[in-house]
Structures are given as structure tokens and as C-alpha cells.
Symmetry: C2
Subunit: 334 residues, 2 copies
């Protein structure tokens, strides 16, 4: 049981209001009193009572902005679902959502501008890693939580996965599937995207090709390009396994189905198409990154900050990489 504000007030011969002012840096406290109170707080290791704060704040209303490009993107639909599920637990948290389709930086800038007019107290965003977005977000004074993609700005937290480790796990599966090594094709969206490159590195570090080749390709996250690329790879007849380390998986699966190839496949994430292919035995395994939890955890962090006045222990909040196999049971973790 920690010390209380009342007790601190008594020990420092001031009122509870003054203690409250010091604790929350509200200003308007004499230098002398501030020092005295801060001393007591430290000495007795004061921790505010979560229940008391929650009770007081239960009549307030908090507006939280969300900028997310989930339209036409199943992965981010799950992220948003987790976010909304968690928000619904608190009747006093209102979500203001600006969503759009694709990776056009102008659209994201527009969404940010528009949401900042909504009088929100915190922003949750899946940010694009461009100069303009970084500049824009750096201007913002309210706390920001970055989801899925980390960029170099000041933030309350980042919530996302370890891409390198995701790649390693794919390499582990490849080792089980190809004990004598093999030729592997890795397909990512673009070498410009950090997460994609990290997955390639992780795979290469973990996989033992035993003298054979690991080749990498780009499909621009596009199903059509992925389809054509996969056909080439299969027709070349030189590969034992394809690792799809980003989007464009259904395009690739289509090519495999059409050619009737029995090539081994490892993927990332878990869209409906992936789940179906996994169930049919067309994919060995897929490495997922808890999308649902990326959303729910982000909102938890914002709530802890707004309602309970507490920051996450670490700015980096990693979601786990999960190996999903044919018989993996759901539902997903929230």
C-alpha cells in the first residue's frame, strides 16, 4: 500500500490541492513548498491510486484520433478491430477515425490535417516513413502512438513486431522443410521498406542453404506483378521454396495453382486467402505478428496515459511473432 496524497499533504503541512498541483506540474506553487513536497513524494515512493484516478475521470470524455489505411487492406482491418474492441471497454473514450486506401503520402497528410481539427487528445497512426509525414507529425503537441511501422519522431510509444525475427522464423521452417538445403526465392514489396529488408536478412541468417542459392525479388506489393514473378520462378524450375515476406501473396498463390506446382511456400500474416491456402496444405506455415493486439495495445497505452497519467515502461512495445500452421486454432489474441 503506497502513501496517499492526503498523507503527503499532512507531512508537508500543505493542502491536498497543493500536492496535486506539484504531482501534475500544474504550476502556481511556491519553490519552497514544491521542494518539500517533491522530497516527500520521492522519500515515500508515492504511486497514484489507479482506481481513484479512474473514478474521478469516469465523468470526463477523451477523444482519441486514429489515422489508418485499412481500406482494402485486411491486415489493417484486424488492427483496427483490436483498437475498437479495446476502446469499447471504456465508455468515456471516443474514437475519431480517418481511414483511407493505399500508401499515398498525400492522403495520409490530409488525414492528419483533418483529424487534428477534431479536438483530439491523442493520436494513433500507422505512419508512412516519408519526410513530409515525419515533418507533419513532429509539429504535433499531443501524444502519438505509432502502430506497425516505426519512424524517427518523438512518440509516446511504438507498437509493432520484430521483422528480423519474423524472417528468422521463416528460415527455421525452411530448415525443417529442406533439411538438405535448397534454392529459395524471397519476394518482398520493395527493398526501400525497412521491414521487408529486415525479413530478408532474418531469413538468410537462419536458413542453411548448404551451398544453394537464395534469391530476392520485388513485387511492389502488387498481386499482378507477384503473379507474373511467381510464374517465372516456377517455370525456371530452379527453386525449392518461395518465401513471400510481404503483400502480393494471393497473386502468387494463383500462379502456383495454375501451374500445378508443388513448390513449398512460407508466407507472412494471415489474410483469408492465406488461411485458406494453409488449411488446404498449400502453405507450410505463415509467420504472423498479432495484428489485433497491435491495435488493442496501442489503445491501452493511450488510455493509460490519458486516464491514469502513466506512460508505458518502454517506448518500444513489441508484439510477438507467431508460427501459424495448418491446425492452428483461433481466435486471435486481443
Amino acid at each position: 500500500m503506497s502513501i496517499t496524497i492526503k498523507k503527503i499533504a499532512e507531512l508537508s503541512n500543505v493542502s491536498r490541492g497543493t500536492v496535486d498541483r506539484v504531482i501534475h506540474n500544474r504550476g502556481g506553487v511556491s519553490e519552497e513548498n514544491r521542494k518539500k513536497i517533491e522530497y516527500i513524494i520521492k522519500k515515500y515512493n508515492y504511486k497514484s491510486n489507479r482506481h481513484a484516478q479512474g473514478l474521478v475521470n469516469s465523468k470526463k470524455t477523451f477523444r482519441v484520433g486514429v489515422v489508418i489505411n485499412n481500406i482494402g487492406n485486411e491486415f489493417f482491418d484486424y488492427v483496427l478491430e483490436g483498437l475498437m474492441y479495446e476502446a469499447n471497454k471504456s465508455s468515456n473514450i471516443n474514437l475519431i477515425i480517418k481511414n483511407f486506401k493505399g500508401y499515398d503520402e498525400e492522403k495520409q497528410i490530409e488525414a492528419i490535417d483533418s483529424i487534428m481539427k477534431e479536438n483530439i487528445q491523442a493520436l494513433i497512426i500507422n505512419p508512412f516513413n516519408t519526410k513530409k509525414v515525419i515533418e507533419k507529425l513532429s509539429q504535433i503537441k499531443i501524444p502519438i502512438v505509432l502502430m506497425n511501422n516505426d519512424i524517427d519522431i518523438e512518440k509516446l510509444a511504438f507498437v509493432g513486431c520484430d521483422y528480423y525475427n519474423s524472417g528468422q522464423l521463416s528460415g527455421d521452417i525452411a530448415n525443417i522443410a529442406l533439411p538438405s538445403g535448397g534454392n529459395v526465392a524471397i519476394i518482398v514489396g520493395s527493398y526501400k521498406i525497412r521491414g521487408h529488408v529486415e525479413r530478408i536478412e532474418g531469413f538468410k541468417d537462419a536458413f542453411k542453404s548448404k551451398g544453394k542459392q537464395v534469391q530476392t525479388f520485388e513485387n511492389q506489393d502488387d498481386d499482378e506483378q507477384s503473379y507474373l514473378l511467381t510464374k517465372d520462378i516456377i517455370l525456371s524450375n530452379g527453386y525449392d521454396l518461395i518465401y513471400y515476406a510481404a503483400a502480393g501473396i494471393s497473386g502468387g498463390l494463383k500462379a502456383i495453382a495454375e501451374t500445378g506446382s508443388k513448390i513449398k511456400v512460407i508466407t507472412v500474416d494471415e489474410t483469408k486467402a492465406v488461411r485458406k491456402a494453409l488449411a488446404e496444405g498449400k502453405i507450410l506455415a505463415t509467420i504472423t505478428q498479432q495484428p489485433y493486439k497491435q491495435g488493442s495495445r496501442s489503445l491501452q497505452i493511450v488510455r493509460d496515459y490519458l486516464v491514469y497519467n502513466s506512460k508505458p515502461l518502454d517506448v518500444q512495445n513489441m508484439t510477438g511473432n507467431r508460427v501459424h500452421l495448418k491446425n492452428m486454432k483461433f481466435p486471435v489474441e486481443k
Copy 2:
């Protein structure tokens, strides 16, 4: 924002105390008032405010009993660790722990008898599935949470994994490792233990032997027996893979190391020995069941009941089965 007790009191023309009596079935309320109040509660879908209850209860102290056979059993050490971690979050929850070694039912009965004298308000236990234990636990009036092993008694909750699915996932890995099928030896502790049999069934249902054999063996959860059994299996030269579906894994690994066999291995759970063998490439994969979370979740359920007066949505609380590979990152989920 739900309706409050104050509001219910106004609407039913009684005091808040009387509403409280009805909500908590404390008795001593006239039939008429009870009905009126219950009607209002239902009509406005009253939900108690967690913060208010927590605040009131923050001065109370709760004693929670734990009976666990973690001595000399690394798996249950993790379970207990999760339990204690979660308990430490609440300064008003005290854990009374009775732990012992092994699976002797007399020792468990003794631990239960002794802990029931400790004036505890809830019991968390990993129960043995024997007649005597069932009888003993059936007498107990305080809420009980069963961890890891479910038995047929009235309980607040069961927290544990889906053993059948764990077996299925092992079968999935075996399919990746043995694409042309193979002869598999499954070693469990005893066919009398439900979880062991369920893992066998799950494996058999998922694995495609393609005409080859799946044989099962018992090692009585004993490393020495496991060692001898494994030697026999290896020397018989007829097997492609061993699936250790229970304890006795280090004994088995020792036999494999001594014979220098390259046989493929799948295990369950993650003791230090397993982690080491996984890192060295001697085990393909191990299927874990979130032991840490089995402990923390059990305590959460007890706390929700004692402090917040709320029961889990479902008596069955399943922890997830995780596929851990060579490069799986830690720490474990709490």
C-alpha cells in the same frame, strides 16, 4: 456510461444501502423492494463501476491459497512465477502457497487440508484427477480455480491448454519434416493421463504417415525409462521421428546424444534442456502452452471475483498453443 446505484435507489425509492443488499444478495430486504430493485437493475442494465469497487476494496486484504507441485518441476515453476507476478500488482492480495514435489495424491490432499486452515478466500490448484482429490475439493465452499489440469468439480474457472490441438500442431510440423510420410514414435507418460492421450490423438489426426507406422510408448514421466526407451527406438532403426508428448524429455535427449542419432525430434513445453536442444538444432520444434500465463490468468480470475465481484465469461479459459522454433524470441507472455 451505465446507471449508478444512487440512481437505482432514487428510481426505486429506497436507500443506496438497500440497493447494495440486493445486488450482493446480502438478504434482509423485503420481497417487494427486492423485486422493484431487481426490475430496475435489469431494465437499465446496471454494471458496477470497477474503479469504485476497487477503491472501496483497496483497504481490505484478500488471502488466496495456491496448491502446486512445482518443486523439481520447471514447468510449474513458470506457472507459479506468472501467478506471483500478477499477485504483486495488487498490494492487497496475499498469496498463501503450499507446494510439494511429485504426483502423490496424499501429498496433495495434505496440502489442501493444511491450506484450508489458513483462512483463505479462494483456492488456485493444479489438481490431480483422482477420486480422493475430487471428493476433497467438492467439499470446499470458497471459489476454486483449476490450473493446467481440468477435473470434474464445480469451479470458478479452468485455465489450461487444448491438448488435442497441441498434438495436431506437432503433426503439422511432422508433415513439414517428413513430406513423404514416415515411422513415428510417440512417447507419453501414461495412457491414464487425459492430456497425454489427447496429444496422441491430435498428432495422429494431423500427421500423414502415408502408409507407415505411428507407435506409442509410455515412460511414466521418468527420465531413466525415457532414456532406455529412446535407446531401443533408435537401435531398432525403424523410426524417422520421435514426438515426446510429456515429461522425460531430457532422458530421451541424452540417449539420442549418446547414440549420435540424427533422428528428428518434436517436444512439448520449454524447459531449459529443451531450449538448449532447440538452439543446438537437436529439436525441430516444441509446442508450448503459455505456462506463465496459466498462472497470471488464474490470479486475474480470482482477483476479478474477490475485488470486482465478477466472474469470467467462460469457465473454460484456454491458453494458446505456441510453436517455438530455434530462433523464437523471448520473453514469454505474462
